[in-house]
Homo-oligomer: 481 residues x 2
Amino acid sequence: MLTLDSGLSLFGVILAGGSGTRFWPLSRSQYPKQVLRLLGSESLLQATIERLLPRIPLAHLAVVSNAAQADVIRLDLFRKGWSDIRVWLEPLGRNTAAAVGLAAVLMDREKDAEIIAVFPADHYIGNQDGLLQALDRGAELAQAGYLVTFGITPTRPDTGYGYIKAGKAVESPGGGFHCDEFIEKPELSRAQAFLRDGGYYWNSGMFLFRRDVILDALARHLPDLYQALSLVAEGKQSLEEAYQKIPSISLDHGIMEKVDNVAVVSAILDWSDVGTWEAFYNLTDKDSRGNALVGRAEDLDSRNCLVFAQNRLVATIGLEDVIVVDTVDASLVCHRDRVQDVKNLVERLNRQNLAESVHHPTVERPWGRYTVVDAGPGFQVKQLEVKPGQRLSLQLHEHRAEHWVVVQGQARITIGKEIREVATNESVFVPLRTAHRLENPGPGLLRIIEVQTGAYLGEDDIVRLADDFWRVSANDDTEPK
Amino acid sequence: MLTLDSGLSLFGVILAGGSGTRFWPLSRSQYPKQVLRLLGSESLLQATIERLLPRIPLAHLAVVSNAAQADVIRLDLFRKGWSDIRVWLEPLGRNTAAAVGLAAVLMDREKDAEIIAVFPADHYIGNQDGLLQALDRGAELAQAGYLVTFGITPTRPDTGYGYIKAGKAVESPGGGFHCDEFIEKPELSRAQAFLRDGGYYWNSGMFLFRRDVILDALARHLPDLYQALSLVAEGKQSLEEAYQKIPSISLDHGIMEKVDNVAVVSAILDWSDVGTWEAFYNLTDKDSRGNALVGRAEDLDSRNCLVFAQNRLVATIGLEDVIVVDTVDASLVCHRDRVQDVKNLVERLNRQNLAESVHHPTVERPWGRYTVVDAGPGFQVKQLEVKPGQRLSLQLHEHRAEHWVVVQGQARITIGKEIREVATNESVFVPLRTAHRLENPGPGLLRIIEVQTGAYLGEDDIVRLADDFWRVSANDDTEPK
C-alpha cells in the first residue's frame, strides 16, 4: 500500500450518490451530475478520482453510490479502465453521514487503511497541487485524532456556500485551526463581512479522519446509524433492512458540529461545488458581453447569458441574465437568479412521471451506446453504435421483434444457432423469443438502425443469456442490452 | 359568375409570396408564414380564402406566389380540395406592385371580372361580417373609379403599423373618405395622438379597384413595370425576362401615394397583420400572469412570456417578457422588445446555409408526410406516413438504396415488375436504380420506417416515372417523393 510523504496510508471514499437535479435537463435521474462531462472531457467523478491518484491508488479507492445509479457509475469507471475501484451501493440515499459510516464499517472489515479521506464526486478543483498539499497536512492532523475538514479560502462573498469560522491554531506541524462555528449559507452582507474580516472559509465537504476516530464519533453521536451499520458488517442484517432505520443527516450536522476535535485545514484550490447552472456559468469562458455560449448557439445582442446547446441550433436575441440549456428532448430557459428553483421544477416533472426527467434519448453502454431516434404506437427506432471489438449480450425479447439495418461497418450477428457476417446496406430480422447477439468484429465503428415492433417495447423486456461485462445474471432485468 | 349584392363581380387576388422570416423557427424558407397553422386548424392562407368564399367563388380566386414556394402553396390549397384556384408564380419576389400588376395583366387575358380585390395571404381577421360589408362598400367605390384601400379603425396606439389619414368624405352610397396622407410606422407619441384625434386608420394592405383603373395607374406611374408585364401578356417576353426589369416597390409607394383617386373604406375587422411573434402573443390566450403557453410548456413564476413548444418539453423559470419558440431542430429565445430582429438573425443563418433556415425535419406531401428522424455519414432514417388510399409517385434513385419496415398498416409495394402486399412487421429492400412505389390500399394510416443508404442522400436524387398529383414530369426534380 502506498503511503503519503508523512508515512500515513490513506483510503479514499468518493461520495457519488447525488442526483444533481439542479443540472436538469443535462442531468437526469438515471444520468446524474457526477457523470456529466460538464468541464472538459472527463466526468466530474472521473476528474475527482484522477486528481487523487498521485496520493491514493485505485485499489485504495471506493465509490459510494446507490442502487439506482449503479450502472451509470460502473460504466463511468469502466470507461477509464478503473475496474479495481470498489463500488459500494446504498439501497437508498441517506445523506453523507450514512455514506461515510457505510464506508467506515466496510473498510473496517478490510483492515487496509488507517485514514479515510472523503471527497464529493461532483465538485471542481482547479489547483491539484493545492489539494495534494492539503491532503498531506490534513493526514497529519487526522493521525493526531482530529476530524479534519477542508476550508476553502473564499475569493468572493458567495451566498451559496456554508462557511467555517476558524478558531485558534492547532499545535501540529501541518498547521490548521480549531473550528469555532459552522455557518449555513449566509445573507450577502454577512458573507461580505466574512470576506472582509478574514478567518472564514468555505465549507468544502471534504474530510479526513482516522477510521477508529470517525467510528467512535458515529457510535457516540449517531448511535442508531452506527448500530444498524455494525449489524450489516457482522452479517446480522441486510443493507436494505439497515437503511430503513438510518436517519438521513449530513456528516456536518450529525458529527462535525457536535464534536470538539474538529480541525480545519485551509486550502486555496480554485474550488467550486458546481452546484447550479449559475456555478457552471461562472466556470465557463465568456465573450466580451459576458455570454458563455456552448455548442450551436447563435446570439444577437444578449448580455451575461449562458446558452448551452447540446446539439440543436439555439438562437437568442436581446436577453439579459438568462440561462438556456437545450438538450435533444427538453429545454430549460431560466433567469440566472432562479437557478436554485430548477430542483423544484424537476420535482414537478417527476410527479408527472415524465421520461424527460429520467433519462436521455442517448444511453451509454459498455459496448457503445444507443439513441432512441423515433417512437410511436407499436414501434421504436434506435441507432446503435458498437465500438470496435465489442459485442452486446446474448439476449432475447418476449414481446418485440427487431429489424436491423447495418449502415456503417460490418456486423457479426447471431440469430438462434446461426452466426453470419452482415455488411453495410444489408439487413436482418430478429424474431420474437429468438436468442440473438450483435458484435463488431471490425476495426472501425459499427452502426445499426434497429426498428423494433411489438405491443411492449420497454427496456426491461430482455433475457440476458451471456454478457462480456458485469451484467451477468440471466434473470437480471435491471440493465438492458 | 357570382356578383356582389351591388351587382358587381369580383376577382380575388391573394398575395402569398412572403417568406415570413420573422416567424422563424416555425417558418422556414420552404415553409413560409402563410401556410403556418398559427391560429387554429387552418393555415393563414386557407383562412384568408375561407373568409372570402361568401363573396368570391374559388374559380374567381388567384394566389400569387413565387416559384420557390410553388409546391408548399399548391399543397396548402390541395389539402382543402381547392384545385380550382389559380396559382400564378412570380420567378422572383418583386414586392406588391409587381404581384398586383401581374394579376391584372393575366386577368386581362381572361376577361372574367370587372373589379380586382387584393388580400395579403397572411393576416388575421376576426370579424368576417365586417370584412364582407367593407368589400361591398369598397366595390361600389372601385366601380366609381377609385383605388380603394381598407383602413382599419385602430384600437391601440400601435407603432408597428402604417397609418392612413382620412380626408373629406367621398360622395358615394357606400361611404368612404378621400385619403389625405399615407404615414409610415410612427413613434409612440404620434400614434397616441392619431388615436386621440381620430380620423386615422391602420393601413391594412387590402385593395379594391377596377381592372382598367389599376392598369391605367400602373402604366402612368410604373411604366417599366407595366410595359414588361404587357409584353408577357402578349407572349413577347418570358416572365423571367420581365421580372429582371421590374422594380421592387410596394403598391402603396408605387401607386397609392402618387394618385389622387384613392378612397379609404373604414372597417372594424378585429384585424392583425400577424407580423411578429409579439403579434402572435397578442392574439393568444394568456394565463393570470400574462403567459401564453402553447404545447408542452412547464412554467415556474414567469410573467408576460410566450412559450411555443412544438413537441419537446420546454421548462421556463422566472422569466419576464421573453418569447421562447421551440421546434424539433431549432429554438429561439428572444426578448419581446426585439421580435423585429428575428429577421436579422435568419439572414445570418441563411448566410451560413443552415438547413434550419430552409425546412423542417417534417415535410408535408400530398400523399401524407415524412420526417427525417436520424441521419449520419452514408445513411438517413425517415418515418413516412401515407394517408389511406394514397400512393407516392413511381420513382427510382440513382444513388441510394432503401430498406422499408412497415410499422403500422399494410403496404402495397411495387419493386421493379413485382407488386406485393407487405404487412406490419415485414420489411422490403429497394435496390439502387430500381423503379418502386409505395401505396396505402387500406382504410387506416400506413407508417413506414425507411432506412436510406448511399453516398448521396439529397432529396433531388429522384426520377419520377408516374404521379397521382401535379408533379407529373419525369424530369422534374424539384419536388421529391
